[in-house]
Symmetry: C2
Subunit: 214 residues, 2 copies
DNA sequence: GTAATGTTTTACCAACCGGTCAAATTATCG
DNA sequence: CGATAATTTGACCGGTTGGTAAAACATTAC
C-alpha cells in the first residue's frame, strides 16, 4: 500500500529525500518569479522533470510546497540579524551585517525574491511570523543599537529605520536585479557590481552613523 | 455598429473616459497585489463594479490594461529624478529627491508595488524601457552627481549605487509596507512613521555624503 | 421620433487549473 | 526468487480563466 506522504513516523526514503529537494528547487525558481497565485503546479513539475501527479505524491498541495519554502527562507534569512552581537564593536557589527546581507542577496537571489513576492502580496501566509518571531528579534536588536547610540558609540538614530534601510539596500540587488543590470549596462553585469555596492554601502552607513562632533 | 475601442481617430465618449479610469483604478488594486499572472479579469471587473465582457469592451485584453498602467507608472515614477537639477545646491537637491521619493511611496503605494511586481517577475514587458529611457536618465543624473563629487561638494561615491540606495530605501516603505507595519507594531501604524523615516534617511544620506576632512 | 451609434448583458467556448484515482511499474528485502 | 511496499503514470474531474458572439439596451444626433 502506498502511504502518500511521510504519513506515519516512518523514515524517509533516499528517493523521497532526493525528489523532495528537486521539487523544492524547481518550486523556488517558479514561485520566486511568479508569486504564489501566478505559479502553477505544472510549471513546477516541468521544471523538476516529473509529472504533476508524481509531484503531488510528494507534496499534497501547492500550498504545502510554498509553505516549506517560506519556512526555510524565514529561518535562514534572519541568520545575519541573529548574529548581531551586543558585545562586539558597533561599527564592525554593523559593517559585517551589511556585508552578510549583501552576500545573501548575491548568493540566494531566488530566496530573496520569494520573500519579496510574499510581502508584496500582503503576506497572507506569514503574517503571524512577521508579527511574532520577526518583530521580537528586531525589537531585541533595536534595543542593542539604541544602547550603542546612548553610549555615544554611534550617532543617535532610529534603530528600526536603520535596520529597514539595511534590508532594503541590500535586498535591492536581488529583488530588482533586472533593473540594476539594465541601468548599469552589460559591461557591468559581472560580480564586480557587488563589490562596488559593498564599498558604497559601507561608506554610506559608516559615515552616516559616525558620531560627529560639530 | 459597435466599434470596440477608440478604434478610429474618433474622440472618446464621456462614458468611455469615465469607465476606463474606473477600470484602471480597479486594475491597479488587483495587479499591484497579485502581479500580472496572479490577477484575473474577473477580479478586476468585480472591483470596478462591472461585468467581465463589459470590461473587455473597453480593454481588449488583460495585457492592454496592464500595459497602460505600467506606462503611466514608468512616466510619473521618474518625475522626481527628472527634477534633479545640476545647477542647484547638491545637498538640497539630494535631500529633496529623497523627500519626494518618500512622499510618492506614501501617496502612491499601489503604483510602487505594481512596478516592484513587474521587476520581480523579470520585467518581461518593460525590458526595453529600462534599458532605454530609464538608463539614459540615470546615466545623465549620475554624471551630475559625479561632477558634484569632483568639485568637492559632496563625498566621492558611486553615483549609480547612490541612486539605487535612495530608490530602495524609499520604495521599501511602499513595497514592504506589511513587514514595516508588523515590525513597528500597531501603535506606530500612523503616518508618523513616514516622518521618522524621512528624518532617518535625511540624516543617513546627508552625513554619509558630506565631505569629511579627516 | 427615428436612425445610427455606443454600451451592456447573456450565453458560451476552449484551454488551463489544482487535485484525485486506480492501475501499472519499480525498488526493497527476506 | 517472490512478496511487499514505494513510486510513477495516464485518464479523468469540477471549477476557473481569458476571451468571443450576438443580441438587447441606452444614448446621441438629426
Amino acid at each position: 500500500m502506498a502511504i502518500p506522504r511521510a504519513a506515519k513516523t516512518q523514515r524517509r526514503t533516499r528517493i523521497q529525500e532526493e525528489k523532495e529537494e528537486r521539487i523544492l528547487g524547481a518550486a523556488l525558481d517558479v514561485f520566486s518569479v511568479n508569486g504564489f497565485r501566478g505559479a502553477t503546479i505544472d510549471q513546477i513539475a516541468d521544471a523538476a522533470g516529473m509529472s504533476k501527479p508524481n509531484l503531488l505524491y510528494y507534496f499534497r498541495t501547492k500550498e504545502a510546497i510554498h509553505r516549506q519554502l517560506i519556512d526555510r527562507v524565514l529561518f535562514t534569512w534572519l541568520e545575519p540579524l541573529r548574529a548581531f552581537n551586543a558585545d562586539g564593536n558597533p561599527e564592525a557589527e554593523i559593517r559585517s551585517y551589511i556585508r552578510r546581507k549583501l552576500e545573501m542577496a548575491r548568493d540566494y537571489p531566488r530566496e530573496s525574491r520569494l520573500f519579496a513576492n510574499e510581502i508584496l502580496q500582503g503576506a497572507p501566509r506569514i503574517e503571524d511570523e512577521l508579527k511574532g518571531p520577526l518583530k521580537d528579534l528586531v525589537d531585541e536588536k533595536a534595543e542593542v543599537i539604541r544602547a550603542w547610540a546612548r553610549a555615544g558609540k554611534i550617532a543617535r538614530c532610529d534603530p528600526y529605520h536603520l535596520i529597514f534601510s539595511i534590508w532594503s539596500t541590500t535586498q535591492h540587488y536581488a529583488d530588482f536585479d533586472v533593473q540594476v543590470r539594465a541601468v548599469l549596462g552589460q559591461d557591468y553585469a559581472g560580480d564586480g557590481r557587488f563589490e562596488d555596492a559593498a564599498r558604497f554601502l559601507e561608506q554610506l552607513f559608516m559615515d552616516g552613523l559616525r558620531v560627529r562632533n560639530t
